[in-house]
Symmetry: C2
Subunit: 203 residues, 2 copies
Amino acid sequence: MTTATPSPTPRTRLSPAQRRTQLLELGFRLLATHSLDELSIDLLAEEAGISRGLMYHYFGGKQGFYEAVVQHAADDLYARTAPPDHGEPMERLLASLAGYVDYVVANHAGYRSLVKAATGGNDNLRAIYDTTFAALADRFFTADPGGLVIPDTPAVRLLIHAWQAMVEDLVLTWCDSPAGLSREDLLQVITTSLPALIDTLPG
Amino acid sequence: MTTATPSPTPRTRLSPAQRRTQLLELGFRLLATHSLDELSIDLLAEEAGISRGLMYHYFGGKQGFYEAVVQHAADDLYARTAPPDHGEPMERLLASLAGYVDYVVANHAGYRSLVKAATGGNDNLRAIYDTTFAALADRFFTADPGGLVIPDTPAVRLLIHAWQAMVEDLVLTWCDSPAGLSREDLLQVITTSLPALIDTLPG
């Protein structure tokens, strides 16, 4: 009987893009316990075990790092709320919103930090936030044969913007205090409230 | 024919409370063209033609002045949205919301500055904002024989909180870009959306 010494796991060398993504994910995780203002280059460099110089190499500086973290989180949110390709319109909306709820539940504190930073006066972060929610709204209107059939009018777009604000408030508040609503109850409310809201439009 | 020299208008001496109120109203008006951060004691003293020392006497300091301005605006909002004593529940809700819409229209930029400050991380301002909207929500449940009859449950309160976020977003966005909706259209949407939203609750 021969015993083979287990060969050491080969050390994977990350590409610069993979390394950058890893740092952005770490940055977003740190937002769960720190406000964006507290999330310094120094803190991230320490947590990641890399030099400040390398951090500056990847992100240019503090503001560039913030924007990269927020953009990465926004892209992740957009990907996780992709509706399935097939199914009834309301089922597909429900699946997309389930992605949103699960994302917020999993990243509650970090998501709240981002909203606070985006709405509190940082114009570049606000632009990323606004662009993301506009892209989410666009999903209702893009050539999408199985999508929710709602007319693309300025008034409907105004209502979808407000409905997004309502859904964000509802899901964040529900995370703190579910008020007797299960995840399924919450999903029913946010899904059926969209056509109900559009039905309130005159004419 | 005798000509009487018109007597000068008697100079009214304001009480300290009236003077303080006047300063708060000036502060709120200045928020239409300045962010809360830009609204300094110096700027207000200059605009009001009084000394910085008197400003400190009235408000203690910058943070005290901010909080007093926001509290004054919140009290004003609460007063202007008081529903009439009589009428059908939905008519009374409509009248209360008309007060809200007209308040936001008249103070659009200032209101937006306050929301930004309250949601962006100033905890004392956030507390005033939250307390005000909780008081507005309480109106639906206080002993109010002609009020909208909705059950007082934690889930309904969760939904009213989210509905308020939706109404605020809708009215602020409508001020910038009305999307073909008249004031009456907007009022119809925000009024009828409350019972429509509560109807989405399961059970």
